[in-house]
């Protein structure tokens, strides 16, 4: 559902229902964003919570309109990730009951296969530079239109397209090497 100016005004005022909607809209995407970076589900959960705390605190100072909200959310997420790099000596405290991400799996065999596929996906994404990975996550995991990906990441559309082109070539090479090994 698109965000409107009234929602943004409520969010900036710290309205409970606006904050709840923000969390509901972005908790999945932010979790996947962080998870795609390092593949640690517990850490991705922690970082999502940190990102929401930062988002709510920073919302009153947000510039721009509703169209900039997604970009603002991912800018905060990138800051949270940068902070992890700065504080990487800090040990990750896994949340209780956090573990493998929830999949709509049917049985143990399917679960193992899904885990392998996920591991392969993460390995492929891990081989990309941060910007290309962000583009791939937004374009192919969150399935945002390329124009919105460009706006969210503050990149020219041409850059997004060329990164996707280059990323696809890298992906093909990585997949070929993975298939060779297996």
């Amino acid at each position: 559902m698109p965000f409107d100016a009234a929602f943004l005004a409520e969010l900036k005022r710290g309205d409970d229902s606006a904050v709840e909607r923000l969390v509901a809209e972005f908790e999945g995407p932010l979790y996947r964003y962080f998870f795609a970076i390092h593949g640690d589900p517990a850490l991705a959960g922690e970082q999502s919570a940190d990102a929401f705390a930062d988002l709510v605190a920073a919302a009153p100072r947000m510039r721009g309109g509703p169209a900039q909200l997604r970009g603002f959310v991912y800018a905060v997420a990138r800051n949270v990730e940068r902070r992890r790099w700065r504080d990487r000596w800090r040990r990750s405290q896994p949340l209780a009951a956090a573990g493998e991400p929830e999949n709509d799996s049917a049985g143990p065999g399917h679960e193992a296969q899904a885990r392998d596929e996920l591991r392969q996906t993460l390995r492929v994404l891990g081989g990309m530079d941060a910007t290309t990975r962000d583009i791939f996550v937004l374009a192919f995991v969150e399935q945002l239109p390329l124009g919105e990906v460009a706006q969210t990441l503050g990149l020219p559309l041409g850059t997004v397209k060329s990164r996707i082109h280059r990323g696809r070539q890298e992906l093909t090479a990585t997949l070929a090497s993975i298939e060779d090994r297996t």
Binding site: E27, A57, A97, P101
Partner: protein, 137 residues
């Protein structure tokens, strides 16, 4: 836009298939609760910071002008200090000649004059007394 950058449908499918496991990744229920707790805690926390933590945005020309004025004031202050801290010129005080000493019956008793340098606030820094024999033998 170069057509070669557009993915073919089969490439698109392969990419979609490759990334679909990540698409299914969802935060667990405790993580969802933690997100809401964190957001609520940030709401409760006072967002007003102390005045010295506030920042203001100023247009660049105004900032440049203010910086120029500050530099000029600083330079002027420095110049004024260097002038005011120059040592004061010594004031030479000619001590009044003492009342003529009445010679005691041609004994050749000396008359004298005194020259002294006086710094305001410091006092006399040098004093020179010259004796004159009025009736040299």
């Amino acid at each position: 836009m170069n057509d070669s950058t557009e993915p073919t449908p089969s490439e698109e499918d392969r990419l979609g298939e490759l990334l679909s496991p990540l698409r299914r990744a969802e935060p667990t229920a405790p993580m969802r609760r933690a997100n809401r707790r964190a957001a609520r805690a940030a709401l409760v926390r006072p967002t007003t910071s102390s005045w010295w933590q506030h920042s203001v945005s100023v247009p660049a020309p105004v900032a440049a002008l203010a910086a120029g004025v500050l530099l000029a004031v600083g330079w002027g202050l420095g110049a004024w200090r260097s002038i005011s801290s120059d040592p004061p010129a010594p004031v030479v005080v000619e001590a009044p000649a003492p009342a003529p000493v009445t010679p005691i019956a041609d004994t050749g008793a000396p008359a004298y004059t005194t020259k002294a340098s006086y710094f305001p606030g410091v006092g006399f820094v040098s004093r020179q007394t010259t004796y004159h024999l009025e009736n040299p033998l």
